[in-house]
């Protein structure tokens, strides 16, 4: 077993080494709380073992930290990263062999949980993005990097979700789920580089498992994940290298390519590489890497299939605002009964809401959206034509 320098303390401090609450169990307790001689609460985590002993990392903890672990707010690594830290070696008969006061940073990386790993698999983030680049350093992360990571995921998710939702009935959809789907909750930030984790829009243990009887929300999320995974897989194939994407369904091609474009790092800017992981893209030990050349491949495929966005410029009256999905319908277009549904970004919500309230004809400019019968609104202004109802 590995050795590091430390100060040996009286092993009676943690004797008996009995769990108060077992948080992770696998052939016995692996992560648990235990009380020391003073009755104070500590967090113990299995680190290593050999034929003689099992080694635990033990740190002071609190009910608040344990609660954050249970709710997926705090990773196990972060919960263990405390100013005081001990290594406790316990014989296989349960007797304490020795306790060593050590510096947490001296513990070998592979003897601790990986950064960002949550207590239980169901708490793992939906999607985690880590932006890497020479300009992305702790304390001086360009705000454009943060904006790009957040907006990239939101836009990618919007395209895929609209496509998936458009394939099934509109009736009976839980509003809370839709609101979270289109405005994903964040779960965790890490600033060593820049890392952001997005939380599941619902608490559901059967998500991304092979178990049966899945709810509508679970099926929606899993379809979004499958589409994204399909695109990410394509990027690593020879067809991806050549920028040729043709799964046989042009509608699906359009949404997947647009989603990939939003996630891949731009050929300019501070982000040189994006590392992706999370339940949405399947079980992976190592993150999936997206480099700048991935964006070039996506752009090539978009050009090949003539899927570049086209300008949209329409005048009409705004109706049917959906604040959860950030979408509205434009009716009475050019004096016809025609209807065009638009999606838009949060910053346009105020203008859309005002236009809906005023009930005046407006001009909506934007561009085509890869989902059928949808357009993407970028700006709203007063109508030039003087048509009235």
């Amino acid at each position: 077993m590995w050795e590091i320098e430390g100060k040996e303390i009286d092993s009676g401090r943690f004797t008996p080494f009995e769990p108060v609450e077992v948080l992770y169990e696998y052939d016995g307790p692996r992560t648990f709380t235990t009380r020391d001689l003073d009755g104070e609460l500590n967090l113990a985590h299995w680190s290593d073992e050999d034929e003689k002993a099992t080694r635990y990392v033990v740190v002071p903890t609190s009910p608040g930290i344990v609660d954050s672990l249970r709710r997926g707010i705090l990773s196990v690594h972060d919960a263990l990263n405390q100013p005081r830290c001990w290594l406790c070696d316990v014989a296989h008969d349960g007797s304490m062999i020795r306790c060593l006061l050590v510096g947490f940073e001296a513990i070998p990386k592979d003897a601790l949980p990986s950064h960002g790993t949550m207590l239980w698999p169901t708490l793992e983030p939906l999607l985690t993005l880590r932006a890497v680049g020479s300009e992305i350093v702790q304390g001086r992360i360009p705000s454009s990097v943060i904006r790009s990571c957040v907006a990239g995921v939101q836009k990618s998710f919007k395209v895929l979700s609209e496509y998936v939702l458009g394939q099934s009935s509109q009736a009976g959809r839980p509003e809370e789920f839709l609101r979270r789907l289109f405005d994903l909750p964040t779960q965790r930030f890490a600033y060593g580089s820049f890392e952001i984790s997005f939380r599941m829009p619902l608490e559901e243990n059967t998500l991304f498992t092979s178990l049966d009887h899945k709810s509508y929300e679970v099926e929606t999320l899993e379809k979004v994940g499958k589409l994204l995974s399909k695109g990410l897989k394509w990027l690593s194939t020879s067809a991806g290298e050549e920028g040729v994407y043709n799964p046989g369904d042009p509608d699906e091609s359009a949404v997947v390519l647009r989603a990939l474009k939003e996630l891949t790092p731009s050929s300019q800017g501070s982000i040189e590489r994006i590392e992706l992981k999370g339940q949405l893209i399947g079980a992976r030990v190592s993150p999936l890497l997206l480099e700048r050349k991935a964006r070039q491949r996506v752009n090539a495929a978009i050009r090949t299939q003539a899927l570049e966005p086209q300008p949209v410029d329409l005048e009409g009256r705004i109706r049917q605002l959906d604040k959860d999905r950030l979408s509205f319908e434009l009716r009475e277009i050019g004096g016809t009964p025609g209807i065009q549904r638009f999606v838009f970004d949060e910053e346009l919500l105020e203008d859309v809401f005002q236009a809906l309230q005023d009930d005046q004809r407006v001009r909506v400019t934007g561009r085509t959206f890869p989902v059928k019968n949808l357009a993407y609104a970028l700006d709203i202004s007063g109508a030039k034509t003087g048509e009235t109802s």
């Binding site: 077992v22 948080l23 992770y24 169990e25 696998y26 052939d27 016995g28 692996r30 992560t31 299995w46 680190s47 290593d48 073992e49 034929e51 196990v76 296989h92 008969d93 349960g94 592979d110 003897a111 601790l112 949980p113 990986s114 790993t117 949550m118 207590l119 239980w120 698999p121 169901t122 793992e124 243990n205 991304f208 498992t209 092979s210 339940q279 399947g282 079980a283 992976r284 030990v285 190592s286």
Partner: protein, 92 residues
């Protein structure tokens, strides 16, 4: 890889654990659960192997714990356990 397929009873570990569970091997039914555990407890093993267990290979049962798919596999005596599995993920 055969050394990875011994129970705690066979390796003489976890002497205080329930005897029945000590004689079984722990497996997961979902790859995602195994990957999560690989990240939570890196020194438990670098590799993840996947296989299909049939009735002729022994008995299995879901194991009470915090992981919904944690399963104990009690292998029949003459089963070549390692031969049923192949490595699917390895962290370099």
């Amino acid at each position: 890889m055969a050394a990875d397929f011994v129970s705690h009873f066979e390796s003489g570990k976890l002497l205080k654990a329930p005897d029945c569970l000590r004689r079984g091997l722990s497996v997961f039914r979902e790859l995602g659960d195994a990957v999560h555990q690989r990240r939570l407890l890196p020194r438990l093993g670098r590799l993840i192997a996947q296989g299909t267990l049939l009735a002729e290979h022994g008995k299995t049962g879901l194991t009470t714990g915090k992981q919904p798919t944690h399963t104990t596999w009690w292998s029949y005596k003459d089963v070549d356990r390692a031969s049923l599995f192949s490595i699917v993920q390895e962290e370099g």
